[in-house]
């Protein structure tokens, strides 16, 4: 049975979550560990921490966040943002992260993917691909870095294949055209990557409704769907998202604790 994972993404800046505002009853709504525990309780299948400052100081802070999370949250979690070297990856994995997500550094030096995969296993290595559609139809998608500002000239599908060939165990594919628009995933991009690689693909960028999550899994064929604002802003709980997906025929782990 194939089930689709629902993954809330937490943006972390200097050890603090910068978007989670809905949980008014939390002791500290900016504490990534407390938010992670809350999403776990709601039925999240996995979590992604994205370190959006990624200065060298904040990387050390992130290692601390990871260590504290690993003591309290018992679902898989991935850490991305500013992982520049095998040493960075090692520090995060040793602190208790299940996976690290490589992006800019892997584009600069693809060998990094191989090194981390060899040392820790492919299941620990996520390659994050931020892509925009090229202007002409049928020209595919180009990989960008720095939050969608810097084009790399690389074709997203060929990078997806190379990263997987080098040992990436999973790809996190974000449409920079859709990110922040709340108009839904770029389903063509998602589908194209899913068909190009043998490993699981996480669809990301653009979720504004629960139907978008369904489409990502059905039309896009994604193995997991990632969203931030619809969960953080209090529009929907993870549990509602899963009930909605299940009602539309997508197999998900039930969010109801009595069923799991």
């Amino acid at each position: 049975m194939r089930s689709v994972r629902v993954i809330p993404c937490l943006d972390v800046d200097g050890g603090r979550v910068v978007k989670g505002v809905r949980f008014v009853d939390l002791v500290d709504a900016g504490d990534p560990v407390e938010l992670a525990a809350r999403y776990d309780a709601e039925g999240a299948d996995e979590l992604v921490f994205l370190d959006i400052t990624a200065s060298s100081d904040s990387r050390r802070t992130m290692v601390d966040v990871v260590a504290r999370t690993a003591e309290q949250v018992f679902i898989p979690f991935t850490v991305g943002g500013g992982v520049r070297s095998a040493d960075d990856a090692r520090a995060l994995l040793r602190a208790g992260a299940d996976k690290v997500s490589l992006n800019t550094a892997a584009l600069a030096e693809a060998e990094l993917v191989s090194r981390v995969a060899e040392e820790f296993g492919s299941q620990c290595v996520v390659v994050a691909i931020d892509a925009r559609a090229r202007r002409e139809p049928d020209e595919g998608w180009e990989v960008y870095t720095h939050g969608g500002r810097n084009p790399t000239g690389r074709d997203a599908l060929s990078w997806a294949e190379e990263a997987t060939g080098r040992g990436a165990g999973e790809l996190l594919v974000t449409s920079m055209d859709r990110d922040g628009t709340r108009s839904g995933f770029d389903l063509e991009l998602t589908r194209a990557v899913v068909e190009a690689v043998p490993v699981p693909v996480i669809a990301s960028g653009g979720v504004g409704s629960l139907d978008h999550l369904v489409e990502g899994a059905t039309v896009g064929g994604a193995d997991a769907v990632l969203a931030a604002s619809i969960f953080h802003l209090g529009e929907h709980t993870v549990s509602e998202a899963k009930a909605h997906m299940a009602a539309r025929g997508v197999t998900v782990r039930p969010a109801d604790p009595s069923a799991r």
Partner: protein, 217 residues
């Protein structure tokens, strides 16, 4: 609970130098167990119970276990019937061999070999899946858990079916999810990453450990 052996914890999480083993240790500690990562064979052999985690591939894990000197500890523990839990590749290592690493011997605690997941499905299986109990077998591992527990799996290989199997999952066919033989339990999924269900399963192991400890003393 204390166990024999100098400085040995109640539950030794065997640290043979591969991957991230901390989550198993943390999950057991969360349940109040006296659990600790142990790399020293002498210390580990005095523990009241053992957990053999494992991530990555069968060949390197088997080699690392041998190199670390902990293979003899595992064999000794199984022989003395201390509660024992193998997780993921740590479970697979308890079988005789694996298709993933032809020619590399497993520990042979469970009969049979580890085989690739069925064709036609994505490999690895990296997802949550429902754990289906064998109706005719009581499972101490899954006792008291929800009727249809879901667990987190990350693997490309799984042990073949046999009489010790207590649960399977459906992934391109029936795939072995858990087995038990006396006090040796093994799970293909990651209980330390399977939320409340996983913690409940580990709590079963901790209780079995405590029972075994009080029976000895």
């Amino acid at each position: 609970m204390t166990a024999g052996g100098t400085g040995a914890p109640g539950i030794a999480v065997l640290d043979y130098g591969i991957g991230n083993l901390r989550s198993a240790e943390k999950a057991l500690q969360r349940l109040g167990a006296d659990a600790r990562l142990v790399a020293d064979p002498e210390v580990a052999s005095g523990a009241g119970a053992m957990v053999l985690p494992g991530v990555g591939a069968f060949g390197p894990c088997a080699a690392a276990l041998r190199r670390s000197g902990l293979e003899a500890v595992v064999r000794g523990g199984v022989e003395r019937e201390v509660p024992f839990l193998g997780i993921c590749v740590g479970f697979q290592l308890l079988f005789e061999a694996s298709e993933e690493a032809p020619g590399v011997a497993g520990l042979g605690v469970f009969p049979g070999v580890v085989r690739a997941l069925p064709p036609g499905v994505k490999r690895p299986q990296m997802q949550w899946n429902r754990v289906d109990r064998r109706p005719e077998r009581h499972s101490a591992t899954l006792a008291g858990l929800p009727e249809e527990p879901w667990a987190y799996f990350v693997h490309s290989f799984a042990p073949e079916d046999g009489e010790d199997v207590v649960a399977t999952c459906d992934y391109g066919g029936q795939v072995v999810a858990a087995a038990e033989r006396g006090r040796v339990w093994g799970v293909q999924f990651h209980p330390e990453k399977s939320g409340s269900v996983g913690l409940a399963m580990l709590a079963n192991f901790v209780r079995a450990t405590e029972r075994a400890g009080s029976a000895r003393s």
